[in-house]
Amino acid sequence: MVDQLPNLGREDEMLKAMGLQDMEDLFSDIPDEVRFKGPLPLRPPQSEEEILSDARRILGANISMGSRTSFLGAGLYRNYIPASVFQLVTRGEFLTAYTPYQPEVSQGMLQAMWEFQSLISELVGLPIANLSLYDGSTAAAEALTCAVRVHSRKASQPNTVYVSSLTSPDKMSVMENYCQGAEITIKTLKHNADGTLNLDSLKTAAGSCGVYLEQPNPLGVLDEGLTKTKEIIGEHTALIVGVQPVSLGMVEAPGHYGADIVVGEGQPLGSPVTAGGPLYGIFACSKPYLRLMPGRIVGRSVDVDGKEAYCLTLSTREQHIRRHRATSNICTNETLIALMGAMHMALLGPDGLHDLAYRNAAACQKAKEVLVETPGVRIVHDAPHFNEFAIEIEGSAEACLAYLDDNGIIGGFDLGRWYPSITNQILITTTDQTTQQDIEALSAQLSMWTSHQGVSA
């Protein structure tokens, strides 16, 4: 800690200059009854070397996905981040800056974020994007409250939104927390046996404030029906689509089939999984939502010499100006992770994004081709998939995953954790990092598992 405190040992000199005797004088304003007695009951300070060696030891007790064969995704996707992204984003000028409140010395981050907005806008097919929310779940939740702010007055189902029943309960829980303060009712939409949205169910949502759907859906299904949803719910109900951004290298941008708001977990573009955070939430929308949307936005402007310059804009929506009437309470967001996203996008370019999407899609396709031939494994949805798909196996999913784990494979996600009535389904996730050998190893172990089940049955 000595190395972090430049004035250690100069206390007396400084105190004396101020006319004070000792450090205690600086705390004379704190009543004695609230003073801590004695030193903090915490461990002694460590040096950099000790911290690093403890970190290696302790974090070494975690099992990283890369040290196993992994098929775990369910909302987070293991991908490769080009080396230049890390090296540039850790430049001190980016890393150690605060929110760009002084635009004259923050043009770098401001321009980068304006470019981020442009990249996202173009990716999802909508004219406006903010410069990040916390993650995909809060972005979805804020989209719902935003939709209600915009539509509730004219809605026949005021303060009501509809959400796909497949939505993961964790995300659902975030939505509920964000919606309950505004007294918003969240209703759910049904799905067909093939995993696609039940369009009859969707009709009930007409006249509500907004509908939240995902493409691909939480089970990896690409649902062509979503292109018809806006028509069904009508102009005065916001169509909110949650996306896996990489898929948009091959899959149509929701803004091009009627989405009013597009949200998503930005992580697969630019960020490692990092135990689920920091991530960044994508939030884009069409013009009618602009002034009621959450989050920070950069605008292009000019300086007093007429030179191109960037600054934060439309801040009157935000908490530091509008306080309790703000469109959101967000202040610190995920700028640096969004910057990593921008760098990754800039490197990929249109064709690179397509290639990346294709690699993800090909791995998924391969996994389906192999698992469909694997004894005892059934692919639940006969549908096109992106990144992931559900399989049904013999016996319990939980036991099967434990078996795979014993054999060095992180086998996917037990769908019983989302949908308690289901006990024998696993969500298998592949990404650009999945290899053919990975898939073959999974298939081999799954058929072993099946054969064991046969024995015990």
Binding site: Q4, L5, L8, M14, M18, I30, P31, E33, V34, R35, L40, P44, P45, I58, N62, I63, S64, M65, R78, P82, E93, T96, A97, P103, Q107, G108, M113, E122, L123, Y134, S137, D170, Q180, G181, Q215, L222, E224, G249, E252, P272, T274, G277, D303, K307, C311, L312, H320, H324, N329, C331, T332, A346, L347, G349, D355, R359, P384, F413, D432, Q436
Partner: protein, 498 residues
């Protein structure tokens, strides 16, 4: 100027990928879902991309660039080893849904951080899930809300907030569905107990307050304030943005608070990253603990089978609070930030007290040095303290009102003048209770020399004539930016060929 979207030379990609897995049939996208036109993204080679972002970085100011006395933001040095640690595969490449025996390291660090924050704050249970201070506020008021709901105390629909509070306080409480009751501060910036008494009643769910307050002053009456609110049946919420001033000296628990959020990205040096990510854990007293979002990290003596992957003598596991409000982020919060802050904590340990002492030492010294330099330069009549006080805590405020009145020099003018001298400007116009406010927080990682030099420069800026200052900054990448133009002529993305 380097414009990302002007790069369209590279015909292919700036990042070549390996071939995809071979499949029997091509991966198919349903016909109606095939993307018709590729995103009109720019095309850069790796060399162009590296140069573009290097160039941008050089147009940005960070702590590494220079002194960053931004009040309320605790812009302390970010130790570099923390970045190394956060990129270890044991954190960067783990998935929150992995089973507990895959995550013993993460769980143990979560446990350690929960415990440390509990100790420092005098709280009974901490959750690390909220990803920023504002989300922490929201989470805590949600817990308070559910606490009263479970008690059947449904009348408590109001949250009291001093007028000097940060905007997130009222915004978060409002988001949770509370009505906001704003109470004025006293002229010296401190809490007005009479005003509080006047509003605290059976409709009060909570009072939100920060201490030291946003003027950098310690609220000596805090115990009394707690008593008033508690007597009215409400809860006391501590905004921990100013926690850097008090570690090991006092704690929200000692002051009578029931809930608190921490801005780990301030006090525990997760780098701010130009606006985020952050980490905003909250701590609560026992009566609120079972309302927290889950899961929490917990530990027990391991059973035989478990010992092999344990990091120490304990087995770590997740625990779901009984009355949990549910989740505020889909996973376990900003784990990557928590790890950095853990590394930061380890560097100080019980010495966190010294850290806070130095934060306060530096703030008081800088306040003294600015006044001294101003006297010596004959410009001490141009500003006054934002609040009268013998000692400040980790930050202090100055009011440029005299300069404004006498010469038309605003706080913003002074801020821009400081930019020209190579500094980040202090926070300006916050808190609103101080006219022409400049809010200055040096943090403990600045040397006396830096503080002395800054004080001198501050005085020198005040010697500059108004006209020149209105025109400042002149040495920055761009000059004063027209924010009104930006709002009137919205250009929020690259215009393509529109």
């Amino acid at each position: 100027m380097s414009h990302l979207f002007n790069h369209n030379g590279a015909p292919n990609t700036g990042y070549s990928q390996p071939p995809s897995i071979e499949t029997a049939t091509k991966p198919s996208i349903p016909k109606g879902l095939v993307r018709r036109q590729r995103a009109r993204w720019p095309r850069l080679s790796e060399p162009e991309m590296v140069r573009h972002y290097t160039w941008l970085s050089k147009r940005n100011f960070g702590i590494d660039t220079g002194f960053y006395p931004l009040g309320s933001c605790t812009m302390k040095h970010n130790p570099r080893v923390n970045e190394v640690i956060a990129q270890l595969p044991g954190i960067a490449d783990i998935h929150p849904h992995q089973p507990e025996h895959h995550l013993q390291g993460l769980l143990s660090i979560y446990y350690e951080m929960q415990h440390m924050l509990e100790v420092c704050a005098g709280m009974d249970q901490v959750t690390l899930q909220p990803v920023a201070g504002a989300q922490g506020e929201f989470t805590a008021v949600r817990c308070i809300q559910e606490y009263f709901r479970l008690k059947g105390d449904t009348k408590r629909t109001k949250v009291i907030v001093p007028d000097s509070a940060h905007g997130t306080n009222p915004a978060s409480a409002a988001m949770a569905g509370f009505e906001i009751v704003e109470i004025p501060s006293r002229v010296d910036g401190r809490i007005d107990l009479d005003a509080l008494r006047a509003v605290a009643d059976e409709t009060t769910a909570a009072m939100m307050i920060t201490n030291p307050n946003t003027l950098g002053l310690f609220e000596a009456d805090i115990s009394e304030a707690s008593k008033i609110v508690h007597d009215a049946g409400g809860q006391m919420y501590y905004d921990g943005a100013n926690f850097n001033a008090i570690l090991g000296i006092t704690s929200p628990g000692l002051m009578g608070f029931d809930a608190v959020h921490f801005n780990l990205h301030k006090t525990f040096s997760q780098p701010h990253g130009g606006g985020g990510p952050g980490s905003g854990p909250i701590g609560v007293k026992a009566h609120l603990a079972e309302f927290l979002p889950g899961p929490l990290a917990d530990r027990r003596t391991p059973t035989a089978g478990e010992q092999s992957t344990a990091v120490d003598e304990f087995w770590y596991h997740w625990r779901e609070p009984v009355h949990s409000i549910g989740k505020v982020q889909q996973w376990h919060g900003n784990a990557g930030a928590v790890i950095r802050c853990w590394a930061y904590y380890r560097r100080y340990g019980s010495g966190l007290t010294t850290m806070s002492e130095h934060a306060v030492l530096n703030a008081n010294y800088l306040r003294y040095a600015i006044h001294k330099a101003a006297r010596e330069e004959g410009v001490d009549h141009l500003f006054v303290d934002g609040a009268e006080t013998d000692v400040a805590k980790h930050e202090f405020t100055l009011s440029m009102q005299p300069a404004k009145e006498q010469f038309g020099i605003s706080a913003m003018d002074v801020a821009k003048g400081l930019l020209d001298r190579g500094y980040m400007a202090p926070t300006v116009y916050f808190p609103l209770v101080v006219p022409e406010c400049m809010m200055i927080e040096p943090t403990e990682t600045e040397s006396k020399d830096t503080l002395d030099t800054f004080a001198q420069h501050f005085a020198e800026v005040l010697k500059v004539d108004a006209e020149t200052l209105h025109a400042a900054p002149t040495t920055t990448p761009v000059r004063r930016v027209d924010e009104v133009y930006a709002a009137r002529n919205l250009c929020l993305r690259h215009p393509f060929d529109e």
